[in-house]
Subunit: 233 residues, 2 copies
DNA sequence: AAAATGAATTATGCATTCATTATTAATTTA
DNA sequence: TAAATTAATAATGAATGCATAATTCATTTT
């Protein structure tokens, strides 16, 4: 079962939006476990809402690819597969590339400063081997680049894809060597953005993502094999 | 008011999915008019469903960017603006480019044959100046390329963006000259696909879209000005 | 004891109801 | 008569209710 405790009740305009956000977070954080059923009733009781807005949120998240709805059998958290990953990553690559080009065109000095700050914070985390911290600042950087691109639709589209792989991305640990490489790539990312070199930034971002992709794919493959093992036993 | 008549009642597993599809179609076809409120009750009655699944569908379409939800004031069909267009088109460009590259890698002879068929049908429509027919086959071609790319996530993502601009795209009439150019571009598209030249196909598709973009942008600008005029009168 | 059948329970999908908020219509006031 | 105020009506958002389908559990059968 999932960790449904430690969740407080909610109130605010438009319950279903609040619920959509909450559930999304719970999926990314693994509180709602990939592959498992979404305990609709339990969630409603825990959050103090009725089934109507909850079910609206479930429909939205299903349309978004985070859940699958089985007729008469409720919602299930979509477990990412290698196949899905192979679909999502190239897409994210294309979008990051676009974001890089646009960001170089549109980034303001203030935004650049924000990226630098996240970058340095990320470096500090790397040096102290703080993976969760690194992950958080890393995400901040990529989102800051999206913001700098100044295209809300791009941001939304990208994030909806990113969320689908975020948990896998988080769980798939990098080797120390790969981690160092990732940091090096980030130096290049910052440099390209500072010099407003769109082509270069675009290319590095794409490469950076492809490298991450390789790590995550390997991890998922291991996971799937373990699942199969368990299925046999 | 909108043309809510000529709609038959429905039945099938998962009402909200059926409704989502129906409403999406109604928006693209202009039965639900951009900028106007969605007549929830009337739609429910017309389609013979309760408000619950209807509202689930509305939430999904809102998350998809086709509607906006105003708290306590229902749903409204999102009218596309120049700003939104300027956001959506570059994104579609990046995705079409990706689709082109992947399609050249993965297209089967059978799929290629399907594209050729649509292409020829489209040419026939051009010669007989049949815009609706042209538009339909044109769409078929682009969707066939997506299919050939063999990336379901790409298809879904692209279509969700394409739907948002489809109506404007349909209403924005091309000049005769531009139409001829578009047809010429389509010849190049077919050729690039036949020779599996990913780079070239990718580039042409992007250019093709940018040209379309220019036409649509002009049309929307005119529309917005007319709206403002009406607002003043 | 394992498989098969059937009853009890629970979950699911959708319709209905209800409280609240917005909108319109009617009335009053200046 | 035009603006302001109030009353009415309708719409929205969310909770509840209900019929059907799925699941679980007990019972029977082999």
């Amino acid at each position: 079962m999932s960790t449904l405790d430690t969740l407080s009740s909610i109130e605010r305009p438009s319950l279903h939006e609040e619920l959509t956000d909450r559930l999304r977070t719970m999926i990314v954080e693994g509180i709602l476990v990939a592959g498992e059923k979404v305990p609709e009733r339990a969630l409603c009781e825990k959050l103090g809402v009725s089934r109507t807005p909850m079910r609206e949120a479930l429909k939205v998240l299903a349309a978004d690819g985070l859940l699958t709805l089985q007729p008469n059998r409720g919602a299930r958290v979509r477990a990412i597969t290698v196949e899905e990953l192979e679909e999502v990553f190239p897409l994210m690559g294309a979008l990051e590339a676009l974001a890089g080009e646009l960001a170089c065109k549109n980034v303001t000095d203030k935004q650049l400063q924000a990226v630098r700050k996240s970058h340095n914070a990320m470096l500090a985390c790397f040096k102290s081997a703080d993976m969760p911290g690194y992950f958080r600042y890393n995400q901040q950087i990529h989102e800051a680049i999206l913001t700098a691109a100044g295209n809300q639709t791009l941001t939304t589209t990208y994030l909806s894809l990113a969320v689908r792989v975020r948990r896998a991305r988080y769980l798939a640990n990098m080797s120390q060597q790969r981690w160092q490489e990732a940091v090096d790539e980030h130096e290049l990312i910052l440099k390209a953005l500072e010099t407003r070199d769109g082509k270069k930034l675009s290319a590095i971002l794409k490469q950076h993502l492809e490298n991450k992709f390789a790590t995550v794919r390997q991890w998922i493959q291991t996971q799937q094999e373990e699942q199969q093992q368990q299925g046999k036993v």
